[in-house]
Symmetry: C2
Subunit: 335 residues, 2 copies
């Protein structure tokens, strides 16, 4: 993937006109070097494609980075990463940083100091300077990406979002529903768009018209489901089924339906997305698209460990399958 060069750190230091000690500090993420000097020395490292060879001093931990911890959702990923790390005799260091797109810049300094065996990131992408820094320190990483579309040369594990949206909608159509609305996640996340496109394709394939007001962008949290469902259920020709885009949004949709005096699934069918551990314990049990979050965490951790061992990995991008789990929140259209 990247050219291996034989230039030593001492040679790069000499070229940059600093001591080896200073160069070493920059390599190890120490903060007692002026920011402008650090930036300049980083450029030298990048230009030479410098890659740390001696990785013996690493701690025995795998780093897992989230932009936010969402209980039911994050825990599945944590469990998957933890299982693989534990089997390899590593601990898992958990950090939370940045926004949903990329971790913040002080995070990267911390990583360089901590020197983990590798990093699993739950983000849609990693900024190029961060990738460059990790590469030069020989710290491999992989992205668990239920959210977006990272660059093709970035190791990542995703899942079949488009198929998920298609299966959810097709299930509702097969139950006889025609007025089907969809609430997806934020508009700037590729997974939201993929799920909605799956919904659209299922509707189009069945020759069902889509009222523009039926397509909604939420936040993947219960409130997003509730707010949008309240509006959807207020109109005269209300939908008889809603694809909620996430299990948490499905909870919000059911809450809005209950508040409007509607019973699920008798008056409204609801399909979630994710299949969180509690989905089968809700009353009614939630029909939902199973997203293999735990396996995505496992595969990302395995990918990082393989890269850490110096293995050549042919396929850097992996999409795991999703499947529909039919439970009690969907029913044939009444009447």
């Amino acid at each position: 993937m990247t050219p291996t060069t034989r230039v030593t750190l001492a040679e790069i230091a000499a070229e940059a006109g600093v001591s080896l000690a200073t160069m070493s500090k920059v390599l190890n993420g120490r903060t007692d070097v002026a920011p402008s000097t650090r930036a300049r020395l980083e450029e030298h490292l990048t230009r030479h494609g410098y890659k740390r060879r001696n990785v013996a001093q690493r701690t025995d931990s795998l780093e897992l980075v989230f932009h936010e911890l969402e209980a039911s959702w994050s825990m599945e990923v944590i469990e998957g990463v933890k299982d693989v790390a534990t089997a390899a005799g590593l601990s898992v260091a958990l950090t939370v940083s940045g926004d949903r797109h990329t971790p913040s810049s002080d995070w990267i300094d911390g990583v360089l100091r901590r020197r983990p065996v590798g990093i699993v990131l739950v983000f849609s992408d990693l900024a190029r300077p961060h990738r460059e820094k990790l590469r030069s320190r020989g710290v491999p990483f992989a992205i668990v990406d239920p959210a977006g579309d990272p660059a093709p040369d970035v190791p990542s594990v995703g899942s079949a979002n488009w198929s998920g949206g298609l299966m959810a909608t097709r299930h509702l159509i097969e139950l006889g529903h025609r007025r089907i609305a969809a609430i997806t996640g934020p508009e700037d996340m590729m997974c939201s768009l993929a799920r909605i496109d799956g919904y659209r394709s299922a509707m189009n394939a069945a020759n069902l018209p889509i009222d523009p007001s039926w397509i909604r962008f939420g936040d993947f949290h219960p409130t997003g489901g509730e707010t949008n469902a309240r509006e959807l259920l207020a109109g005269p020709d209300r939908p008889t089924a809603i694809f909620a885009g996430s299990d948490l949004q499905a909870l919000g949709v059911i809450a809005a339906a209950t508040a409007a005096g509607l019973s699920v699934p008798r008056d409204l069918s609801v399909v979630g997305y994710d299949d969180i551990a509690l989905a089968r314990w809700l009353s009614p049990q939630l029909t939902t698209v199973h997203q293999p979050l735990r396996r995505m965490g496992e595969e990302a951790a395995r990918l990082v460990l393989r890269l850490a061992e110096g293995e050549t990995v042919d396929t850097l991008r992996m999409d795991l399958a999703t499947h529909l789990v039919v439970r009690g929140s969907t029913a044939p259209l009444a009447g």
Copy 2:
């Protein structure tokens, strides 16, 4: 708390007849020393009350140890610990080990190698040899203890379990219920016993008889609630209200009631315990006892950081208050 001695590691090594290098390896949790030698040298460290003075080489992470990760529950504690750690510029290293009483012995070796600033444990106690090892390495720890009763000299943060059980039951009595059952957690956890004692006191104070079959031990998971509720609801004089002992068990109780054709709260009132993030998003919204899990994590992390700074902490045990949150799963006794 413990005698400070001035004996050096070199002196202890000389006394034990080993080199300083070997003694150092034991201190740092290295595994290339024979187990019998390690055990013998640990004894020397313990006898002298040796305590590491130079802590400069520590990594910048706070270790958080669980015996199991339960999504809705563990995440609250993680969030609390993370917030305090982040504010102090530390990352959180998450490990899972052992059973609900104490971490396994290989965990302690990992800790000695990782050298965290401090440790927050979600266990009912920490075995004395582990405590001794941590003390001699100068690694402070605190227990987040929703579960048991650690020794009084162990830093820990718990919550008012007895009051929680009392408040939940009193609420049901005030709604007119008389046949009230209680499903608590495992019998070997002190918090289970405390919550049941609170239930008993509320019943006794109201002069209500308790049928022995109404007191049940579950597992704090949905299945425990479901299995016990199915049995409770099968009899002729079924309870009209159930204190479910945890929100997850409450989900199981509601599932069993639904399966039995009973509607919550019309035919059965249900009170949970914990107030997990999803409790207000269930339909009906769950009436529950709020256990301040997040604040418990915060306080435990603060306690560890204070100990790490060498502060003298007067009160090693802290119990945070619980309170009842009345929502939609409880109603006045019909008829």
